[in-house]
Subunit: 197 residues, 2 copies
């Protein structure tokens, strides 16, 4: 049991170190030696857990995916209707991307043609946003003239932009900036007119 716990901790340290090194150097340039050293383990220990850089990438993306799923579950569980869940989930996602190197690396690896991670993580988020806005439309939360498709396009594009721009300028991940986006968009989605400050 103690041995299993230690193995799980080592695996976790490698995932974190891999995410850090990939974020700093890019997938192709990052060496497994740098990653194992960063994690404080031997090369052999790394190879015991991950047969290749590709296997490590897959573990990072899987953990990031689990993070995104948890965020949308938590946001949805608050019970304030689909638009409130959507606003809450975007805030949580962008905060998490700023705060958690594994989630950040998961998204960055999705864009790297060399990493072979594919767009699955982005697609997962996109599908959730589309589903929530479709439901908002059906349940009467959206203004009549607003298309759920256009709303999903705008929200998915904007959150992707926040995430990518946040890679070189962290202010894009700030709560203020995300709140400014919703101050602009939400009154249009609900048709209830602008909130005055």
């Amino acid at each position: 049991m103690v041995k299993q716990e230690r193995a799980a901790r080592t695996r976790q340290a490698l995932i974190r170190a891999g995410a850090e090194v990939f974020a700093e150097e890019g997938f192709v340039r990052a060496s497994l030696t740098t990653i194992s050293r960063r994690a404080g383990v031997s090369n052999g220990a790394l190879h015991f857990h991950f047969a290749s850089k590709q296997a490590l990438t897959e573990a990072i993306v899987a953990e990031a995916l689990e993070g995104v799923r948890q965020i949308v579950r938590d946001a949805g569980a608050r019970g304030g209707g689909p638009l409130e869940a959507l606003v809450e989930a975007t805030h949580r996602l962008l905060h998490r991307i700023g705060d958690d190197v594994v989630v950040r690396a998961g998204f960055e690896l999705s864009d790297d043609p060399g990493a072979g991670a594919g767009p699955g993580l982005r697609r997962e988020w996109q599908r959730w946003v589309e589903g929530v806005l479709l439901q908002a439309g059906e349940d009467g939360w959206l203004a009549e003239e607003v298309s759920a498709d256009d709303a999903a396009t705008a929200v998915v594009a904007a959150t992707t932009g926040f995430e990518v721009l946040g890679g070189t300028d962290r202010t894009w991940l700030s709560e203020e900036r995300v709140a400014g986006f919703w101050d602009l968009l939400l009154p249009r989605l609900t048709g209830r007119g602008p909130r005055r400050h």
Copy 2:
């Protein structure tokens, strides 16, 4: 003169081939041999024009930057006011990113930590969007309760998202999708109420 023309054509072929190979393989993996072969020139000819991959990257980003500048100049010259220029420029930019591998690679290289291109191209676009919306606010084109800053945040984030998502799914660069975004956002910016279809 004929010799100069030939040199200019070779340089242009190398920039295009470099953009194609970087887009397919990523900056670090792309080899200069693949690029010179794609351009139909010798390795020596490549080295005559570009001393390194870095120099070729800089030429690609410089050409993409010139493309972006031309787009915003042309959009601004149509004389329909700042918001019309903004809508027109986003359509032109995203169409161009889909259509012109050099402009597309310029943006992709901006995200690649290995390429060392830096975020200059994205910053140029961001500054232009911010300036146009500031002017729109000053000249009374924006609804009173709309913040020019929030509007710039939304437009820069969304256009960045369209560009990045368009890398793996070209429908994000379609005129329809960009028009849907503006159908949603423009009535909110002007405060003139939704366009009914």
